[in-house]
């Protein structure tokens, strides 16, 4: 069971086949989320979003407590639910990083009922060089023009498609709980204040290199958290600082841009891609249009970008109208297939030309 379910966890449901030794059986959300009774369907499976935690416990063996997104449940409520699940003999995955009492609540869970995520931690700080290593594996960077543009879902969709084609894929996402999907989480030092900016670049490079050494992947998909370039002085997207550091740590061979749907967009993303190449050296291969649209009036009034969720169908229709070879809805099966084919073609071409250069 995923609790408290919110739209931020939709990718985890859509790509649940990537889960390692787990299956999502039930989604439970608080009444106020506005999602109760809605259904999520993917690849012939359907999940209905429920609100009765106690009843839903009987439908699962493990309860996965995740971060809130739009709503804020009290610590007391979470604690009560954890105790209830523990008393009913359920195993617990507790990945709530936004919980103030994370440690306290986590301590309620008996060790034998607790499932720990530590795959990423095992990769940290094993290499000692004072410089960045060269990474031989092709790096595919997934970045967004802003937060809320499906970056995690795109990473998962691409991962699934590459695996389906027989590639060994290593992925680094910005969410710790993506470890359950065989991915690595962005290490905490990247957003903490414990080390200098230069040190972050070096450590992140070592982290990626260690993954390469351990997994021998054919491709590495790296997700950039949040947005990249500032929209303006108010919507600054944290000035793209993490993206900038990551671009030095793991220089990309190709990139996928994720952007929200905009009625005035006609399929040409080259201007923005050009800016991204200048700043981050991203070679943008294709663009994913997310099923989300800015609400400009609210954005202006609240001085904060506000996106409204759409449905994939409308994006699919738009993409047909754009009629471009490099604009997709990567969350659709067809979109993922076409995107991966294009990525493979471009990366292979680059590889061939660099071989020729060497000769």
């Amino acid at each position: 069971m995923i609790y408290p379910y919110s739209k931020a966890y939709e990718p985890y449901v859509l790509y649940s086949e990537l889960l390692i030794n787990l299956e999502i059986s039930v989604l439970v959300t608080p009444n106020g989320s506005g999602l109760v009774g809605r259904r999520i369907s993917h690849d012939g499976k359907t999940w209905e979003i429920l609100n009765n935690f106690t009843e839903a416990l009987s439908k699962c063996d493990i309860v996965w407590f995740v971060n809130d997104e739009k709503f804020k449940l009290s610590e007391e409520t979470i604690k009560r639910k954890v105790c209830e699940a523990v008393s009913r003999g359920k195993r617990i995955i507790f990945t709530r990083t936004d919980s103030l009492n994370r440690e306290k609540i986590s301590n309620i869970i008996p060790t034998q009922q607790k499932i720990e995520l530590e795959k990423s931690q095992r990769m940290e700080d094993k290499l000692q060089a004072e410089y960045c290593y060269h990474i031989d594996t092709p790096i595919l960077t997934v970045y967004g023009t802003e937060a809320g543009t499906d970056k995690l879902a795109v990473q998962m969709s691409l991962r699934r498609e590459f695996i389906h084609r027989g590639y060994r894929v290593a992925s680094i996402s910005s969410r710790i709980d993506s470890e359950l999907y065989g991915m690595y989480a962005m290490p905490e030092f990247m957003i903490g204040h414990g080390c200098s900016e230069a040190e972050k670049i070096r450590r992140y490079n070592h982290y990626a290199k260690q993954i390469e050494i351990t997994e021998h992947p054919d491709i590495m998909i790296v997700g950039v958290p949040g947005g990249t370039l500032p929209y303006d002085r108010i919507d600054h997207n944290e000035y793209g600082i993490v993206a900038y550091e990551m671009s030095f740590a793991v220089p990309c061979d190709g990139a996928v841009m994720c952007m929200p749907y905009n009625p005035s967009f006609e399929g040409d993303f080259s201007d923005f891609a050009h800016d991204m190449e200048l700043v981050f050296r991203y070679k943008t291969i294709c663009c994913h249009v997310a099923a989300a649209m800015p609400d400009m009036k609210t954005t202006m009034e609240n001085r904060k970008r506000h996106l409204v969720c759409l449905e994939g169908e409308i994006i699919d229709k738009k993409i047909e109208q754009y009629n471009r070879r490099n604009v997709f809805n990567i969350l659709s099966k067809k979109g993922a297939e076409r995107a991966v084919q294009l990525i493979c073609d471009v990366l292979s071409e680059d590889d061939e030309s660099s071989e020729e250069d060497r000769i």
Partner: protein
Amino acid sequence: MMNEEPFIHLFQVNKRNYCYDVNKNQIIEIPKKVYQYLLTNQIPDGNEGDEIKSYVEKLKEKGFLKSNHSQVSEHPATECYKYFVDNDLGQLTLQVTQKCNLDCSYCVYSGNYNNRHHADKWMTFEIAQKAIDYYVAHSSDEEEVSLGFYGGEPLLAFDFIKECVAYAEEAFEGRKVLYSFTTNGTLLTDEKLDFLVQYGFTILISLDGPEHIQNRHRKFANSEIGSFQTLMRNISNLRLKYPNYYKSNIAFNTVLDQRYPLADIAEFMLTNENVRDSKFMASTINDTYADTEVKYSSTFIEEYEYEKFKTTLWLVGRLDKQQISPIMRDSFANVRKMAIVFDRFNQEVLSYKGHRGGPCIPGVRKLFVTVEGKFYPCERVSESSKVAQIGDVYSGINEEKALSVLNIERISTEKCKNCWAYFFCHLCVAQADDGNKMSRCKLCKACGESKMNVEETMKDYVVLRALGYNQDIDLDR
């Protein structure tokens, strides 16, 4: 001669010359001779003519003076309206009763307006439940939810409000609900206050000024007794009992009767210890749906301009806040909004498809629910209107009707797409609604005033900017 007419608007302030470029959505100051040329399209011979031509060419190189207009009239939210409605409802207002314990002559329910009349009508709990359930199900993309109560006088239905709050707390489990209402303040007793403070209600209290002004219009129903004494006693009690809550959650709404002087009101609000530090929303009597037009007195205009001048000096740091009447402190809100748009909404050219400013996305930004459960875009539109009703609690939003309210420009496409005030127009269904249909004729009557307001705001904006005004610092106040 210019080949194509640039899409611009020219205006002058304090002997300075300005050009508002609609395509770029920017105001630029230009030399007088360029202004004259753009105004008349006549170019003098000789050096002066060459200088003008050169200046104009430079403007064009920077992307100004384009002649583009939107070609297709369609609000950007049109094609995705369904999703906005499904996920993004920002605020719900319940009209809990149409009854009021006051009988204010300018109130929209007074009988002097054709959109509403006071009546002994009350919302049932079933309707409130359905409306709240609708809100829960249609606000999943909103970070906060906001539930308002409206009347008549909502505090006449205080027990009903308590029931609604209890229901909303359960229905919105896991989310913060912001509660609010507008009241005449005469029923704000201790028992009610405890509850309102507990749930952090934001309250907008109607106060028109000193006793003789408040009592001129705001009298208890079926009597000649004014409400001033009762209201001020309640306000004072509230402030003493809950000083912090009072400071953060109480604001005042002042209706300025433009037929009478303003100075007494400004002075009273500035000196009364209960209200002098409070936030005010002041507006003149609204005659949108009124039977008769309300005319401005020359004294009002003179005193208003003086107060506005003082406020200008405050905004640019030349007077202290304490010298400005609280009813004026927000009087430049339109300038602030315009400044934010200029600051953030940069473009090179108008899009092929577009819609002028004005309409909110109906049923998305807010939703007003009448005692009978009918849906309207907000509380300002006529409740008897057939065009403005966009649905009800039983069947939800009627998408077709809502889209016609959203795309109001379509009743006057040619006029609107060629209008320089395209971005800043504020006309919506309320100004076009003749009860049965959206009337182009009615809308066009309001158009002149709207354009004048936009130009006045632009003038205020350039003056304030020239004096060092900064909208971010203004917001920080």
